[in-house]
């Protein structure tokens, strides 16, 4: 392609302007306002008072006891952050453990069958998040499928309380984000040259060794992509922990929402949003770093 002429660049810009305006109004612009709000004082029940303060950022990490004014680490906040990170990491690991064999399976089907399997994995992917969370909730409720089956089989006498626990949120997220892990893994395994595996076996390597030394390193970009695609949405999850967590096992997303309701602290909500955004951007940067260095190694 020849070097772009100035008119090419200009046309390129002109054609992109409507998209840029739409996104500035509906996405980027409002984000800037969040940054501003993170430095203001909270209003009594909602909104902000236009005084500059860094109190919101202070409140993210520390808290003042109401009665004796002592300053201490806001361990309630840390608990929520830790729970979010912990559940997101666990979700990523679980979806990888289940997703890798699944992606492998689909990628190694004969070409005629493959489209069908792909279609089957895509349907849950595009099904409404709410519907999937609801479906899982129906299964793990006290009177749901799982408990009824276990009682019917005589394994337990009383329903196990799964709903409204951290476990429920974990099960829910793993269920909801599994397709997001499978698809990039499939794409990577699909491009994989199986002759390398054959070579490995020819050299008398065991299956396990072949997996570890040949397959995994080459599909690494797919693994990283899938992990990011699961970790990032899990971290910012709102609907799944809301429905399955019962309002008590909050993740960052729920905690942010609380600040705009009963928490009555918009600036704190804004500050927490920015921190979540920062964590996500760091993860994305790591992804870019890893994949571009891989590409350089060829």
């Amino acid at each position: 392609m020849s070097a772009p002429t100035p008119s090419t660049a200009r046309t390129g810009w002109i054609l992109s302007i409507p998209a840029l305006i739409l996104l500035a109004l509906g996405a980027s612009g409002p984000l800037l306002i969040v940054v501003v709000y993170a430095f203001l004082e909270p209003g009594e029940y909602s909104g902000v008072v236009w005084n500059f303060t860094t109190e919101a950022w202070f409140r993210v990490f520390f808290e003042r006891d109401i009665f004796d004014d002592t300053v201490s680490m806001a361990d309630a906040h840390l608990t929520i952050f830790w729970r979010s990170v912990k559940l997101s990491v666990l979700t990523t690991l679980i979806t990888f453990a289940i997703g890798f064999p699944t992606a492998w399976f689909i990628a190694t089907r004969p070409a005629g069958q493959r489209a069908l399997w792909l279609f089957l994995i895509t349907i849950p992917f595009w099904t409404n998040l709410l519907i999937r969370t609801f479906a899982i909730m129906e299964v793990i409720r006290n009177q749901g499928l799982l408990n009824t089956a276990l009682i019917g089989l005589g394994v337990i006498g009383e329903p196990i309380q799964i709903l409204y626990t951290d476990t429920a949120v974990l099960i829910g997220m793993a269920y909801v984000y599994l397709p997001l892990m499978v698809l990039p893994l499939y794409a990577a395994i699909d491009r994989f040259d199986f002759r390398l595996v054959e070579a490995g076996y020819d050299l008398y390597a065991t299956r396990w060794r072949v997996l570890r030394r040949v397959i995994l390193p080459i599909v690494k970009p797919g693994i990283v992509a899938g992990s990011i695609l699961v970790f990032v949405p899990s971290l910012g999850a709102y609907v799944t922990p809301r429905i399955l967590g019962g309002g008590k096992n909050m993740m960052i997303g729920n905690f942010i929402e609380l600040q705009f309701g009963q928490g009555r602290n918009w600036p704190l909500g804004a500050a927490l949003s920015l921190i979540l955004l920062a964590i996500v951007l760091v993860a994305l940067l790591a992804y870019v770093r890893v994949t571009s260095s891989d590409r350089q190694d060829g």
Binding site: M1, S2, P4, T8, A9, W13, L15, S16, P18, A19, L20, L22, L23, L25, G26, A27, P30, L31, I33, V34, I98, P101, T102, W104, F105, F119, I121, T122, I123, P124, N128, L129, L130, I131, R132, F134, A135, E138, R141, Q143, L145, T148, Y175, L178, F194, E198, Y201, L211, L235, Y238, V239, I243, G253, E257, F260, W266, S273, L277, V280, L284
Partner: protein, 266 residues
């Protein structure tokens, strides 16, 4: 090599894969089956019945929420696809020009920023506008939906554009067609499947949105997902089962169409 040794099989992988498909579909299928359950229980089968579908169909709140969802989804799909088509034309097949990265970042922003953060940002932004202008109509929702649908419309169109063979357009130019004629008669029709795929993706994404709509909506502006969210936080009636199954059916139909549209490789 020993007979029957397959290079592509790894021990246990097939079993795990099949199990995972079963686990993925079991809750969904349970939900679908029990939407036809005559009794209210979610675990005991009481016979086949369409009563929940009738109940949902006659529920005025469900009707309004559905219409509103469809109106917003169609509007958002139209706007975002138009805008994304123009942006795709502006950023592909041109060689890198200055500032292109900025355009990419802005267009793909909804994919990178967690939805809760965007929802919070829009809540703050629109609250100020609502108070200042007193207008509390659907425009805010349409704007918000159009914005986050753009990257979903953009990607298939761009993919299609990049895969297109320039030879046809060069041929048109050779035949003395003006750039506008070339665009209208050659480029646009060739982009057709990509644009259709992008529009459908945008439609599905808008239809499914929960968080942003929940934060931005004003009085009486429930969409189907926010109505369901409200119901799920409280009652778990089989009516929600029926609505979910109906939505699922719609998604499957659209997905099949999408697959057929993009399978064709000219």
């Amino acid at each position: 090599m020993a007979r029957g040794f397959s290079v592509t099989s790894l021990p246990g992988f097939a079993a795990i894969a099949i199990t995972s498909f079963v686990l993925l579909y079991a809750p969904i299928l349970t939900m679908v089956i029990y939407s036809f359950n005559a009794s209210e229980s979610v675990a005991l089968w009481g016979g086949f019945s369409l009563r929940w579908y009738t109940a949902a169909w006659e529920n005025t709140q469900v009707q309004e929420a559905t219409i509103r969802s469809l109106v917003i989804a169609v509007s958002a799909a139209l706007i975002s696809t138009t805008v994304a088509t123009m942006a795709a034309l502006g950023t592909t097949r041109r060689g890198r020009f200055k500032g292109q990265t900025l355009i990419y970042v802005m267009i793909n922003q909804p994919l990178m920023v967690p939805e809760i953060v965007t929802a919070v940002a829009l809540l703050i932004f629109f609250a100020a506008i609502k108070v200042a202008t007193g207008y509390t109509g659907l425009a805010y929702l349409v704007l918000a939906h159009s914005a986050f649908c753009v990257p979903f419309a953009y990607l298939p169109i761009r993919a299609r554009l990049e895969g297109m063979d320039l030879a046809l357009e060069t041929a048109a130019a050779d035949l003395y067609a003006t750039p506008w004629q070339t665009f209208r008669r050659v480029t646009l029709p060739l982009m057709g499947p990509g644009i259709a795929a992008g529009a459908m993706l945008a439609f599905v994404i808008s239809l499914d949105d929960v968080i942003i709509t929940e934060f931005v909506k004003s009085a009486g502006q429930d969409t189907l997902p926010t109505y369901m969210l409200g119901q799920l936080r409280r009652a778990v009636t089989p009516e929600v089962n029926a609505i979910s199954t109906a939505l699922l059916a719609l998604t499957v139909i659209l997905l099949t169409a999408f697959f057929l549209l993009t399978r064709r490789r000219d």
